[in-house]
């Protein structure tokens, strides 16, 4: 199998001798501009993913919790911005030097050298900060959907403060900030582990500590499906995420100022697309075979599974290999959703199956097409990140649980958080089907 993928990779996509070009000359002003502009345009696409998560989750929760999930999604993006400015960026990128953490502090742009005509920094400070900040926001967005429909608003946002200010940046410094994982040779191109699995682990601990929604798991072991309230919104969210992912992976080339980078960006974007195709089609075929019907939310999650799976290494596979990597992700997501349900871990939108399971798979798949990555190092990266995030997140969730509490009361959960937590219905003009009609409602 590995050999098959390898043949596909080398046969179908000529890998560039990129170093040969990249080392040629000092950075010109034009290269500096293009690198900067790439960060900004691609970063804007990644910011757009925050809306994608918001719409996906709005579509997959029940109508009585929609306004609350909207609020959480936009609020966490604002929190990510502020915390990444206050401490996150510095913790992640400032003087890590092979270690485990950067130095604490406010971040401010410094482009004095470039202003004096020395473009060796490669890009403007703010453009880089922006691109990294939106990744921090994306990791946090993964959490909100998983723990939806029963977590209190402010405690959730408090968790987001710690996740975006400390947990994400600290582990991020290991692989992307010049820390110990990068020195070990860990490869995570755009964050299958560093972004998606981190959100996944944080969500997993949250879901376990919170417990399942009332009525989700029956006393006799049955699993009650709780359908989402708005499928076109969920579809829109998936389209937005797919679109934003071109920026997520494409921008992670981290340059545009030389031909090799432009070529790499094109390859990355195409592979990102192919993996999404593979994941979606594989998931559709799987559910058709298993359940005789194509659950549309599984198709959506299949596409997202493909996107997460390719994210650790979208630069080296051929198109065919990218389809296969995504297809495995799509199969995994179809198997993982009932698996988590069997464990009674209630993941409202399938975030664990998509971001955690496929984040791990994608990271481990890198060596299939990238000879510079080793399976052992990839496994170390996955495990170390998982261990750290599980411990750190659990501490935060438990501190919150035993101080302010993290779960709404039964009455609040039954009536819906929109009315009880934020005093506003998402769809007040429409007659809802009585929420007492089924045990799941």
């Amino acid at each position: 199998m590995k050999r098959l993928i390898y043949l596909l990779a080398t046969g179908l996509l000529v890998v560039l001798p990129s170093l040969a070009i990249a080392e040629e000359a000092p950075v010109s002003e034009m290269s500096y501009i293009l690198n900067t502009f790439s960060f900004l345009v691609m970063g804007i696409l990644v910011m757009w993913m925050a809306a994608g998560f918001g719409m996906l989750e709005s579509g997959l929760v029940r109508s009585k919790n929609v306004a609350t999930i909207c609020l959480k999604n936009i609020a966490l993006f604002g929190i990510a911005g502020v915390l990444f400015y206050l401490i996150g960026y510095n913790l992640m990128y400032n003087g890590v030097d092979g270690g485990y953490i950067g130095s604490l502090g406010l971040w401010g742009a410094d482009d004095a050298a470039a202003a004096a005509g020395d473009f060796s920094a490669g890009y403007s400070a703010a453009s880089d900060w922006f691109f990294q900040m939106v990744f921090c926001g994306a990791a946090c967005s993964v959490v909100s959907g998983c723990v939806a429909e029963r977590i209190k608003l402010w405690p959730f946002l408090a968790f987001c403060v710690v996740l975006t200010g400390i947990i994400y940046p600290v582990q991020g410094s290991w692989g992307w900030g010049g820390g110990w994982l990068s020195e070990l040779g860990f490869v995570d191109f755009a964050g299958s582990t560093i972004v998606h699995s981190v959100g996944g682990w944080a969500a997993l601990t949250g879901a376990i500590i919170l417990g399942a929604r009332k009525g989700k798991y029956g006393k006799k072991g049955q699993i009650n499906p709780i359908p989402g309230s708005n499928i076109p919104l969920a579809t829109l969210g998936t389209f937005i995420l797919w679109m934003g992912w071109y920026g997520f992976n494409g921008g992670s080339v981290l340059a545009l100022g030389d031909a090799a980078s432009a070529i790499a960006m094109g390859n990355v974007i195409v592979n990102t697309n192919m993996s999404a195709c593979g994941g979606m089609i594989a998931a559709m075929i799987m559910v058709q075979i298993l359940y005789k019907k194509v659950d549309v939310t599984m198709a959506l999650n299949g596409a997202l599974a493909g996107l997460v799976s390719i994210t650790a290494g979208p630069d080296t596979p051929s198109l065919g290999a990218a389809v296969l990597i995504g297809a495995v992700g799509g199969v995994l997501v179809v198997l993982a959703v009932p698996f988590f349900d069997k464990l009674k871990i209630d993941d409202v939108v399938g975030a664990l199956s998509v971001h955690l399971v496929c984040g791990i798979w994608g990271t481990l798949a890198v060596p299939f097409t990238n000879s510079e990555a080793s399976f052992v190092t990839q496994l170390i990266g996955v495990a170390a990140t998982g261990a750290f995030v599980i411990v750190a997140s659990s501490i935060v969730w438990l501190v919150l649980k035993f101080t302010v509490g993290i779960r709404v009361g039964e009455e609040e959960e039954f009536r819906g958080m929109d009315v009880t937590e934020i005093g506003m219905e998402a769809y007040p003009d429409f007659q809802k089907i009585s929420s007492g009609a089924s045990s799941a409602h």
Copy 2:
């Protein structure tokens, strides 16, 4: 009239002597980067149109078929990616040489020359593939709305496989792949014929072979309107399409690495916008006069009509001429919708009126502002494309019809495809108005 448009064209917009600049020098690395980046950014905008079609169609079908149309729209985009990789791109662009078809085969990026410092290819292979693939997806998106609410899921997707893998690429090779139509001098800048009419012809044959939805046409000849279920989603879809069209037409300059191309891209984007304005305003005035009320879906279709109409030649008109070209499209769409209804061709979202009728109009309008185009050649291109797509599509639809069947049963159609085909409602929390209340429901 032609003279009026000509005067507007030459008086208001100075056409560039673009060849003078474009031939000056070999492609520099910076030009190569900009050409590549333009394909990627504009291609991402075109991909976004898949979401636009999805939202437009989700808004215009009844609530009982919304989840299904969502699934079809995202699935077809995934299929387009895979099929264009497996055979489509090669059929369309590989060794056509004045002929009728390219050579079959997997596509893989080859940028060896550029990596060695020879930038004469002009742009990275993957960036070009990506830009062409999203066009293939767009052609397929046209079909889904027209045949909605009664076509089975898998047979529809099977049709998409053939359309994106064979039908679209084969005819595309004629005009864009260096085939016989391009040698004849056929001008279709961004695909009024090659993309939109192709989707339109495929949809037309599908709609005829499928037959109309139950209740749409009464026994005494009356036409029952079947209103869409979500107007803001349809509006969002139109806005997305309008936005994506800047990339569709602007990116079709196929370069950004020289000033002439950048100027052309600006002119194209502005004309694209003006034609949408003209189409929308004309359609609004028309329906106000004819029906005394401004049907919002007609305004939306008017904007789309303007966009389709300008697509064959957005580079040569003045702004005023672009408004007129779009306005004629807006008038045509208002007339075409009842025309197709009179023929009992049931087009759920108006796709035929928008993409087929205005695709033809836009192609025939090119000679008004482009002296290099001739009316006869344009007509040949329209007719040849139409003939081929009608025949090829009909064969596929009929084979599907007489093997697996393409139409859901009466009971399924009555209850809605969301429940019967994919086992999931789009809006399960909301009380629907009984679908038995009117013959159309």
Copy 3:
């Protein structure tokens, strides 16, 4: 306070000596291309804000008026395009020379010099026109939400014709077209005053002359909340606006062809983001303190308040100062909403609180971080713009009122404008909660 912000500004963000670089050399072809491409890409993001306004307003009106507000939002964008072509651009930019108005006339692109190899124009004519046109559309979008749910369709569109064709361009010529305000030293980087307050003043006069919606204000002085019908759409609209604002402010650097501009664009985009964060978080904390619940629409308006507040000067603050400027905007919006209600000025979506109040605040805040701006000049700009727009808008509204009428009848308002004005419901499949159930409905 001013000193605190000043310290933050100088301490955290090194301001570039941008002139030193910018004056170096004549504009190269590459600079010309990048300037042009920046206008196009950023302009497309600003166009996207039209969809953002549309979704925000669709979410915040009642379901019986949703189709109408959709139609208004897309129609006004089309009108802005045509009017800015027919007269607006020329009135705003053609030969203003320190005066009060440009010369009337059709606009057409003229790039003859660039085509001949002289790139001193800096960018293509069409790209600049496009970028300015979408700003004109944005000013108009501000109005539609404020006067929603009771204004007739065609009279509203007639107002849009005058606003986009005359009122916006005339006042725009003062600050941006080289008119008297720019000579005075008025600083409005991307339009807190010139775009947002203009929309706000036009909306204010409209709301006063129209009067409040039936049932909004009780006879005994009570204020009846009228909740919006679709919170996820409103959230989506806010995300779209947030995203589009990166283009609104980032593109207003008006160049990308030199490193200083690229650096400035990065700083502007980051500050725009931080101000939105500050506004949203401040508004959330304020409403939690005041009302013990976080009204999600107030969080959304807080983010928008931050965006409007930074728009007059996103280039000079540090990130910390940008957060503070936005936070003040967030507080203002929470105070302004009940203030306008106390005055019985019925602003359906909070447009006055966001765009007018924060537009003024943002303009007056510029001198805190920009030593080239003076408080007095800023005040003159705000006041002169306000006076002109109030007078001009009032005349137009009153002429419309006493000729064709601007307000729908009581019966129409009660039943909803979707049925009575455009003959189409937004959500026909869903059972609505009886609109006679409360006086506000």
